[in-house]
Amino acid sequence: MKEIDARGLRCPQPIIELGKEVSFMHAGDQVMLHSDDPATEPDLVAWSRMTGNVFDKKSKDSFVITKLSER
């Protein structure tokens, strides 16, 4: 699984980096996002709703994102 290390980056950069990576992925692909920005987790909730993808929190600063939508 590909990993994005966005630790030390502030919002909205982690979500922008995630969006770039997800645009190259296919439905069912996964990516691990590492981010210590406090806005990342709430923004992943909104981002998932808006883009039709899902995420799973693995630890305080790590999230696995699964691409479901081809948008």
Partner: protein, 355 residues
């Protein structure tokens, strides 16, 4: 530097009538209203007139009015004053930080928010629990269904936060204490009006020697200006709401055409003059500055615009995007040209920042 021509921040200049009265109020309302001198008698009369005017506009008894300064003190007085030893505080996830601070010192339960900003009612609680409810949210303008939440909890000790809604939204019938903010009717900032509707349920939580009606010595000129602003805004509020709703609808329609825009709460259950919208992949601070460069001032709930770099707890609780956020407040003097200009500036700025 570009001159700001459109103010869409939550703050605004005083109501013109309040501004007019302020100078005269400082001239005639300087004395201590509690003393026996002629000047004090005049100050006392002015104070009583102001309190009666405020009580009348808020449709409550004059004896139940307690002006407080600053407004944030009113949260502590209004909520903590309802506590019994066995009380639990029930409050919303989208409440102001002042309420969270009181909750942190007491047993508490948080009502979570749905995506539309409405709190999800809790199961019935003990009658001595204290329910703190926001009539409308200060960031999104979302109006709560207070009567339904009050009915679900069955709590008999109810604090209503009317600081954002002011007189724009009717206050629920059943409450023990309520807090208003003079700013909501274009009066001076930081003058709070605490209403003690059920004095038998309330006791002063601050150290005190006299258990009688509390008096927090608010500046009389500011209180007079607040009363005049309220009296005048009460005659304008219907027109202001109608106009704001029309402008708000125009902004929402335009922003909903922008790709990946996340508007917080529907207009039909929000304050007519408030709008919070977030744009995916935009930096809130840069967006704020870009709009400012076009001559428009707005607020933001994005983490990058906050002192503590924390995202808005309100947007997070709703599940709305917290970055790229702007908050727009439509004032009674906002013009159609300003709305069109702001709208064009936001759309252009979002497009520019995403490239």
């Amino acid at each position: 530097m570009v001159r700001v021509t459109g103010n869409f921040q939550s703050e605004s200049p005083l109501h013109p009538k309040a501004f007019d009265v302020l100078h005269a109020a400082f001239d005639s309302g300087w004395a201590d209203a509690a003393k026996l001198s002629q000047s004090s008698a005049k100050a006392r009369q002015l104070k009583n007139n102001a309190l009666e005017s405020i009580a009348s506009a808020l449709s409550v008894g004059v004896d139940s009015i307690v002006p407080v300064l600053p407004t944030s003190l009113g949260y502590f007085l209004g909520i903590q004053g309802l506590f019994l030893d066995s009380s639990t505080l029930i409050h919303g996830a989208t409440d102001r930080k002042d309420v969270f601070a009181i909750a942190a010192k007491n047993p508490h339960q948080v009502l979570i928010s749905a995506l539309d900003g409405k709190l999800i009612p809790a199961d019935a609680a003990a009658k001595e629990s204290v329910l703190a409810l926001q009539i409308a949210n200060a960031e999104t303008g979302v109006i709560q269904e207070c009567d339904a939440i009050i009915a679900s909890t069955q709590s008999e000790r109810i604090f209503l936060d009317a600081t954002s809604s002011g007189i724009r939204v009717p206050v629920a019938n059943q409450f023990s204490t309520a807090l208003f903010d003079s700013k909501s009717w274009y009066g001076p900032a930081e003058i709070g009006i605490l209403v003690l509707k059920k004095p038998s349920q309330w006791s002063n939580p601050l150290p005190h020697l006299n258990a009688a009606h509390p008096n927090f010595d608010v500046s009389l000129p500011l209180l007079l200006a607040s009363a005049v602003a309220l009296e005048n805004f009460a005659t304008e509020v219907e027109t202001a709401n109608t106009q704001a709703r029309k402008y708000n609808h125009e902004l929402r329609s335009a922003f909903s055409q922008v790709k990946d825009a996340d508007i917080a709460g529907p207009l039909d259950s929000s304050l007519a003059h408030m709008l919070s919208v977030s744009f995916l992949n935009c930096n809130g601070e840069e967006l704020l500055r870009a709009i400012q460069n076009d001559g428009y001032s707005v607020d933001s709930g994005s983490a990058c615009t906050a002192d503590d770099l924390q995202p808005s707890h309100v947007l997070a609780a709703m599940g709305v995007l917290t970055h790229g956020n702007i908050r727009i407040t439509i004032h009674p003097d906002t013009t159609k040209a300003e709305i069109d200009g702001l709208c064009a500036s936001v759309i252009k700025s979002v497009s520019g920042l995403r490239q």
